[in-house]
Subunit: 378 residues, 2 copies
């Protein structure tokens, strides 16, 4: 049996290249995890996801507890078998989506009561139930239930929210059934306040987790504040444990996150953008719906080896999106995931060679190359 | 260079196994051609289509002339390159869709004037323009422009409609530029009237085509009338040319069509059904949205080797359709195309072994096996 753990392979400044060991296989870090919300990375077969180089995906507890239900997934052999992903799966706690329900939810000291956005059915999510659901899903990496502190928050609000999350983290630790190669990750909160982030790190390391996530970022604070918060958080986390920046981000966010010592990322951005016709490329962000692509025989990204780029022109992708053909989202999601994976691989190789900074500069300069790339904002 | 042609390999009653030679490769017959309306077999990558065993696909002239336009496809290197399908492509003439536009079109002796269903732009389709468009698309098999006689029609209506189609067939033959390995197919009309079908066959064989399609069927006349019409049409077609039954059909229609001497078929049924949650299987037609599948760990079709059946449960497919996840249509289209291809392969092998009738009986009996299969009608 594999013991869950993370080994350092190389470092370049604060950036780390490493290897994550799990019950469902090893994963090279830094790593980007595609989001497979409802037991599917939207528009992609599991084989297609693997072909992009992805080795770990994320599942959403909130969506899966509503449909098809955690007990049903368990009866069908767990999430790995259900979605044809024998590799590692990280599940969130459900907290982030539930907290976003606004009037549909009520928070108390023990957990949160909410109504399904689908049919109004009432559910209750507590630290214990979140851990139980993730166990039923057979999640490789379970996340603690926390409150993602809204931004902006006063110091007092952020403190009380963080302290609630720390109490729940202890309950999650107690509820989690240890199994070889499986992990429970704690989540640092504290908004953009350095003292609260430090306190949160201390509280979590006192409990002890197999990995540490940094939550409550990418919620409107902006990239500069996010990076500053990383810089005052990461130094308080254990050297020998993986660090995961939740819900981040743009390719530029990934460059900055890795440079600041983050090992793991997840975000809907590459998949969501792919479904709406936007392509991340080595030469910038393109909108395939734009008329400038209608007659262009060039590939979306000449540097890319995905099926969209090796087999088709920009004109074809433009045509598919103009006709609302499903193959457009399929191909462009594939491309975007491939771009994200190759960016992570590039960063890992650069760390091994101690040239991450120049790699980041070259990558950022590349984004200004395409004539359309300059004008498209995300 | 390959000369276009069809060789008989074996016969079993009226049924034929053969080999079609084209500029873009050989195709075993009887063959089912998936429909790739707008330069994409909906929801499928070209690689996925190939993996089902398909070796020839169909493109729709009407859709392609509107978007992206035939001249644009030509400038981009032709339809094969545009859609990543180096194999043979058959294109229809555009007539069928244009005739279906109702008030948006006006038919005259020289052609048809119509307005795009997309933006109202006026277009004109004549025998010469239809052939030109299909040439620009670089279609391997070009179809003549005809009028698909509506059903029901009086004998007089069917006769005058058929005669118009025969005059247009001659114009198409004159307009078609012969190239090695490329073909022009004539289309038999005449509604369900044996004398008109015979006259139409004579008119077309007098002109001379590389293949003969049977049009004006599967338009409401019912399977019995369709089979009767095949029986009084096929004997008047040349033995040494491929025969193509347009727009047909259900798996049962394919069994009956092949038994009556048809070599080629196309239909949107497997792809359209796949997008709406219906599966063709060896045990009957299933609707994956039905609650009976919600907890079923069995594959959609235990006899199938497609990714939906080898990697996933009925419960997973049900979940995907309930959540409107794109992967549902992707996987079920894949499955249905695989089912159609394996049915055609089964028929070809049965013809080689002179046991087509027993193969058809076994196949039809199989469709009654699944407990849900009995109840679902198409």
């Amino acid at each position: 049996m594999t013991v869950f753990g993370w080994d350092s392979v190389a470092a370049d400044g604060a950036a780390r290249a490493g290897l994550l060991h799990t019950a469902h296989g090893d994963v090279e870090t830094p790593v980007f995890m595609p989001v497979g919300t409802a037991a599917t990375v939207k528009a992609m077969t599991a084989d297609a996801v693997r072909s992009t180089g992805a080795r770990i995906v994320l599942g959403n507890t909130y969506h899966l507890m509503l449909r098809p239900g955690a007990e049903r997934v368990a009866a069908l052999g767990g999430l790995h078998r259900f979605m044809d992903w024998p590799g590692p799966i990280l599940t969130d706690s459900g907290g982030f989506q539930v907290m976003s329900l606004g009037k549909l939810r009520t928070l108390d000291a023990e957990g949160v009561t909410f109504r399904s956005h689908l049919d109004g059915t009432q559910y209750r999510l507590t630290p214990g139930r979140s851990i139980e659901i993730q166990h039923l899903l057979d999640s490789t990496i379970t996340m603690v239930l926390d409150e993602c502190t809204p931004f902006p928050a006063t110091h007092a609000e952020a403190e009380s929210s963080m302290e609630l999350s720390m109490r729940w983290a202890a309950r999650c630790r107690a509820a989690f059934q240890a199994r070889e190669g499986y992990a429970l990750f704690g989540i640092v909160q504290g908004s953009i306040f350095p003292d609260l982030r430090e306190k949160s790190c201390m509280a979590l390391t006192n409990i002890g987790f197999e990995g540490y996530a940094i939550g409550g970022l990418a919620v409107g604070e902006g990239q500069a504040a996010m990076f500053e918060t990383l810089e005052c958080t990461v130094p308080h986390l254990p050297e020998n444990r993986p660090r995961y920046l939740m819900g981040v981000g743009t390719p530029d966010d990934l460059l900055g996150g890795v440079a600041r010592g983050v090992d793991m990322f997840d975000c809907v951005m590459p998949t969501r953008a792919g479904r709406t016709g936007r392509a991340f490329t080595s030469r910038g962000i393109l909108n395939m719906r734009n008329a400038c692509h209608a007659q262009d025989p060039a590939p979306v990204d000449p540097a890319c080896t995905c099926p969209a780029c090796t087999k088709h022109s920009r004109a074809y992708l433009h045509h598919l999106f103009r006709c609302d053909e499903m193959l457009g989202p399929v191909l462009l999601t594939w491309h975007n995931l491939m771009y994200y994976q190759s960016l992570m691989r590039g960063m890992r190789e650069a760390i091994l060679d101690r040239r991450l900074q120049s790699f980041a500069e070259e990558t950022r300069n590349g984004w200004k190359t395409d004539k359309e790339g300059k004008d498209v904002l995300f």
